[in-house]
Structures are given as C-alpha cells and as structure tokens.
Amino acid sequence: MSDNVKNRVIEIIAEQAVIDPSEISPATTLEELGIDSLGLVESIFSIEEAFDISVPFNANAPEQSDFDISSVGAIISSVEGLVADSGHA
C-alpha cells in the first residue's frame, strides 16, 4: 500500500510540475519544482480525489497546517497517515 501512495503522490506532483515522475525524489521540494501556491492547492485537490481523504491545509497559513509540505517525502508521509486514518486503504 505504501508504495502505491508514494507513487501516486509523485505522479500527481509530477503532472503539476509538467515533468516525468522519475525526476522526483522524496527530498525534492515544491519550490525546486516551480509549484506555486495555486499549483499546490490544485495538487492537494488531486490528492484528496485520488485517496478519498480530506487534507487539513489552509492556504492562508500553510505553516500552521497539520499537513507538512516541506518536501515531496514529507507530503507522502502526511498522505500515508491520512490514508491510514481514513480506513480507505
């Protein structure tokens, strides 16, 4: 399951950045990928749709959100946690 989450999140982020998923590693940051605030909000929407979860993220105060967006790896871990909590896995 974990690999599925990881691959799917990377696919979503890669689509947003218009690059190949193979160019993304867990250490990559959204900034490096050129994903701006609108792109981030759209990525979160795609993640919610893909995993049928609700992501706690407020674009007004990203640093206060429970959802860690500091790197692709951090996003994957957060999504894994939300998926486990949701029981959809």
Partner: protein
C-alpha cells in the same frame, strides 16, 4: 477630444473561428444554428442553438491554462489573439500602462458553474476543483486578456444582459476619447449553451425551437448562440503614427434606460439611444445607411425596435437598411453586440450589408428594409449597432469608414 479607431478584430462564433470566417458567413447568409450537442440535451425542450462545433480546447491551450479558462474565457482569448495579431500592435514598457481591457458578458463562467453544480448537487460530491472561483468569475476573461498582452491600465467587465458588449465597447471608446487610455481591447464573450443556461431561458417562453427569424411574420422567438468578438480600439494619432490598418472609426455612443419593465422593451428608450448616438457623433439621421438591429426574433422586440427606428428616423427609415445577424449566429447574450459590430464594420468598410436570413413572410409591424435572406452591396457612410437588453438597458454605437 481624441478620435478613436478600430485597428484589430477577432472573433469566434457559430459562423467560424475567426473574424474573417464570421464575416464570410454573414456575407453568404449562412445559418450557424443547429442541433445542440451538450450534456442532458434530451431534458431540454429547446434543443437548437448557434453552438461552436468541432472546437478542440486542447489544441489551443495547455492543460495548465485550461484548468483556469472557462469556455467564455477561451473564446475571449482566441478572439483577443486574433485582434492583437491583426492590429500589429507592439506593447512597449512605455505603452503598457495606457492599454486596458473592457469586456462584456452576461453569464461569465457558466460552463464552470453548471459543471460544478452538477458535481455537488446531482452527483452529491463534497469537493470541487480549487479553481472554480477564478474560473467562473465574470471578470476572468478580461484579466486573462490583460495578462496575455501585458495591458496594465483599466481592466474590468461590464454586465448589462444583452447589451453588455455594447456598454463595454462604449466605455472603451469613452476612455480613449477622453485621453485616459491609448489602446483598449474590448468586446464581449458568452458561453451560455449549457443545460442550466438554456433551462433558465426556457422558463421565459421566448425561445424558438425551430429557428431565429427576426422581423418575419412567422417568427416565434430567439435562439441562443455562443462565442466572442474582441477589437483593438486605438487613439487615432497613435494608430496613424505607427501606420496601423484602420478598419473603421468609432464616432458615437449613447446609453439609455427604459426605466419601465424588467423584460418588456420600451420604444422610447430605444429611440432615445439611437438619437443619442447620432448626437454624440455630431451627425444627422440622413448620414446613417445601415443599422445592425438588436433583432432577437421575439414578437415584442422586433415590433418595438422597428417602431423606435421609425420614431427616430421618420421618413428616412424607409431608406435605411436594417438587418439582424442573430438569424445566423444566434443571440450571444452578453457577447452579441461585439460579434454584431463585425457586420457594421463590413458595411462601412466593404460596402456589404449582412442579411436577415430565414425570412419567409413580411410582418406589417416590421415594414422596414430588413435585407431579407441575401447580403446586399451598398455604400454606407455610417452604421449603427443596436443593443436593447432585458431590464431596459439600451446601448447604441456608431461607426464610420475612415
């Protein structure tokens, strides 16, 4: 006061995917109205429209752009690109703050609203795409035009129902004439051919289910269309200094309100708007050779409009040519005046009068020369474009050849 000329034009409509194609359709008297191809069409009692067919958004815009562009924005951008290209205008760092955008639309991002209402109401989903708001807002098309061409001056959208485009173009004319702006991208866009958009109109029972036949005794209502037209309005000396092509000069504009009824038109408001445009242009009624009518094909509009023309022009009304191109491209609601300005440019520049097609039988209450069924050659000094909207909002523009 500055003079204002039109130095670029672009359009997409049921008649074609450019201004040239749309004007060619008008010259040929072609009908762009046909069966609608939209979601849930089988639940509509009105199933015809002037729909743009065979258009592939992905061939024109990237995925990143399309998540932000409602169909009405796409139309405005396609028309805007063509208008800018045809004008040959280069927007320098110095010129950019003096360039603006004013567009008309009645419904704005209705495709986006319709799709997302379906998602949350019909499909019961609790989440919509994050860009629904920036995609559906009425001013989105104007904003995207300003971004696409670096127009950094006045930028906004006008909504006055079926007169939106004329009000928008009139405001653009005013800004340049007063010296407040040098160049304006202006016109209008509409994409109301969605289930909810047509269902709402059905309720008023003013729609035809077999065709738009303005001024004809057998007319039975309006038919909706979709599309956009965008023009480059430019201060005359600026255009001349750069050797720009000049398609026509905008010489007058007037607005009136009937102040009487939310749907039924009032003859006097329409009459005052036409006379106001002549006064503003400092010309005599005898200077006008062609009127592009509002001509919706409803019993009441066409009768009232003809009476207003008679009241404004007196005996001269019998010498005027007046046609409704809605018979070909449908009623583009907030975008309609923009597409119809093309017919006025064609009249003064090329000497070709677009016809009123579908005309079968004279109506004694519309006994003007409505240029039935076939285009006509005529030398026209000044053309008027009428727009008489629901709520009694009237806006008339006057153009002449340069």
């Amino acid at each position: 006061m500055k003079r204002v000329v039109i130095t670029g034009q672009g359009a997409v409509s049921a008649l074609g995917m450019s201004a040239a194609a749309t004007m060619e359709g008008m010259r040929e008297g072609r009908c762009g109205i046909g069966p609608l191809d939209i979601v849930d069409v089988e639940r509509l009692s009105i199933q015809i429209g002037g729909q743009i067919k065979g258009y592939d958004p992905a061939a024109q815009f990237s995925r990143q752009e399309l998540v932000l562009y409602d169909r009405f924005t796409q139309f405005a951008l396609l028309a805007g690109r063509e208008a800018m290209f045809s004008s040959g205008l280069v927007v320098s760092e110095e010129l950019a703050p003096d360039c603006g955008v004013i567009l008309g639309t009645a419904g704005g991002g209705l495709q986006t609203q319709d799709e997302n209402y379906r998602t949350v109401y019909a499909e019961g989903k609790n989440r919509v795409h994050p860009f629904v708001v920036p995609k559906l807002m009425n001013s989105a098309a104007a904003s995207h035009l300003s971004m696409a061409f670096d127009f950094r001056g006045a930028c906004y959208t006008v909504a006055s129902a079926c007169a939106s485009s004329n009000h928008a173009m009139g405001q653009a004319f005013h800004l340049i004439r007063s010296g407040a702006s040098t160049v304006m991208l202006t016109g209008g866009s509409e994409s109301m051919l969605v289930f909810g958009g047509i269902k709402a109109w059905e309720g008023l029972r003013v729609m035809s289910n077999d065709g738009c036949r303005p001024f004809c005794a057998t007319r039975n209502g309006m038919v909706q269309g979709e599309g956009a037209a965008v023009f480059v309005f430019e201060e005359f000396e600026h255009a001349r200094a750069r050797g720009a092509q000049i398609l026509a000069e905008v010489i007058g504009f007037a607005m009136t309100s009937d102040a009487s009824d939310i749907v039924t038109p009032n003859m006097d408001g329409a009459r005052r708007a036409m006379l106001g445009a002549l006064r503003d242009a400092r010309i005599a009624p005898s200077d006008v050779g062609y009127i592009n009518a509002h001509g919706t094909g409803t019993v009441v509009n066409d009768r009232t409009e003809c009476a207003a023309v008679r009241a404004a022009f007196g005996a001269l009304a019998d010498e005027l040519l007046i046609s409704s191109t809605k018979s070909m491209h449908g009623h583009l609601i907030g975008g309609t005046g923009a597409v119809e300005l093309l017919a006025c440019i064609m009249a003064v520049k090329d000497g070709v009068i677009a016809p009123t097609i579908g005309y079968e039988k004279p109506d004694p209450e519309c006994n003007l020369d409505v240029v039935p069924n076939a285009a006509r050659a005529a030398k026209v000094k000044v053309a008027l474009s009428n727009a008489f909207a629901f709520g009694g909002l009237n806006a008339v523009i006057a153009v002449r050849a340069v």
